[in-house]
Symmetry: C2
Subunit: 351 residues, 2 copies
Amino acid sequence: MSWEDNVRRVIPYVPGEQPKIDKIIKLNTNENPYPPAPGVLKALEELKEGYDNLRKYPAPACDALEEALSEYYNLPREQLFTGVGSDDVLSMAFLAFFKGEKPVLFPDITYSFYDVWAEVYGIPYKTVPLNENFEINGEDYDIPNGGIVIANPNAPTGIAKSKEWMEQFITRHRDVVVIVDEAYVDFGGESCISLIDKYENLLVTQTFSKSRSLAGLRIGMAFGSKKIIRYLKDVKFSVNSYTMNTPSLVLGSASLKDDEYFREKVSAVIKTREWTKDELKKLGFIMTESKTNFLFASHPERKAEEIMNKLREQGIIVRHFKKPRIDNYLRISIGTDEEMQEMVRVLRTFL
Amino acid sequence: MSWEDNVRRVIPYVPGEQPKIDKIIKLNTNENPYPPAPGVLKALEELKEGYDNLRKYPAPACDALEEALSEYYNLPREQLFTGVGSDDVLSMAFLAFFKGEKPVLFPDITYSFYDVWAEVYGIPYKTVPLNENFEINGEDYDIPNGGIVIANPNAPTGIAKSKEWMEQFITRHRDVVVIVDEAYVDFGGESCISLIDKYENLLVTQTFSKSRSLAGLRIGMAFGSKKIIRYLKDVKFSVNSYTMNTPSLVLGSASLKDDEYFREKVSAVIKTREWTKDELKKLGFIMTESKTNFLFASHPERKAEEIMNKLREQGIIVRHFKKPRIDNYLRISIGTDEEMQEMVRVLRTFL
């Protein structure tokens, strides 16, 4: 026998590249082009003043952050959960809620971590194909299942379902946990948070990484009934007592205080997205109706990979997924106006 | 059917209390009484200057931190792994390496998270009793098993095995992964890091939370053969691409630069531990030979719980485990000289 016999062999998720060159226009990981709220800078000063405090463990219940979230979303703390990015939150939710034998369902084209988590935790799963317009067909999910995960807006397609549609969908699946991954919802989607008191089995996840410009802190959160959050916290406390470090708690809660700044920057990203979309249309691109901070674009005359490489030569990085059905699409994160103008200029020369 | 049928039900680990009162003498979670290295304060200033950078994802491979660790321990990065505290590192290691059907072995008295991780991941396990002096008897582990976990020094007993003993032990268990949890090794134990090139199946874990005064950052690390680290990284990247946030990478790597400060503070803790031990002996306490930053103490005439409560009345918090064999012991973290003098004074009045 060898020690390797007991090893869990997996094919890990590959994150978008983080190039070490500064001059690049980085449109490949859906980061926000604007700085975090000014309150974060002030909180960094506080962190510096109280730096001796770093010798102590953070509050295991994430008090500062949960209290700020509770105030911001007007929800009791018992309906809130925080983790190291929504990846941590979703991974914990997979571990906590999908222990059954029937397959967990999610779209064939969606966030590529879902099947990776299912694999690593040994959860049976089945992907449900989106239709030819990359839309979810709700009836396709009326099959025996052990849970459902829907990204809304979906990634990398950017397409959103209305809250009304989501509620009808959830109504048909009361006997399993339904996770709605709202990583991009602030850029034009409709949140399902207001449904958590009505549907005990609903878990909504969000993140500070996109709309709050804090990908570097790794903060994600979940909203749900008191019962579902309790189960999730029990599993979380069985894995790591202190997942959120002190800087995350201090800076994350500070970032929630400046709502005007938040709304202003989100609007700016949306405006730039619509401008970019119009320009890309003029260049012949076909796009979905994105409600996110990225565009999902294809060109009828040029291969996506070719366009990606041409952009790269000019120092502009976008994301391409070598996957069935979407390998002729590019996922283009929305940067500043200047960055998008430069991208459009480069594309214009090339096409 | 109910959605709750598929829920993973667990009894979570309960971390030591983090009281919100400042005036308390906190000797219950083995934190370091001294501030982090001065370089950390400087790095906080850098973090503030580059705060716009927080909008970007951290380097997924944890470059800054891994490079600093690589230099400090003189090991290639392929033999290093980092995580959100050694809890995250150990939890990942349980998930990655204990997929077999034979039970994973660890002492009956040890870090109380091991059985919690085994439970949450559905790993079969068996605890092996320490002898009457709380010592590990190596031969007791010569039974069929799917892996072994040894905390060295052990917690909450504080007792350490020599590197020579550990090597002989590992030699007898080449067919499974052996994890040596060295959370407390810097306070007088002998590390097994120098054995990782000889034993491919050995994984050594350590933490920044104790000797480096950075519990608030949540940084843990593992050392092993290139092969074992590769397997661990594959599982980690299947759970969360970016576990370590930007402050952890920036501040953590800075803390490794000032080795003189590190050695000075570790020596101070050891000196205070020995002083406290002598004083407690004079008061009639029985103690193990601790090689950690805590003492494991029992009094023949007074119940541990009673002593804990008396200390608490005077604003001094120590840890008591309501567990078989050790429920008449207290785990007392080593604070500053002044804090320990105060504790001894209170105990003297009471006993």
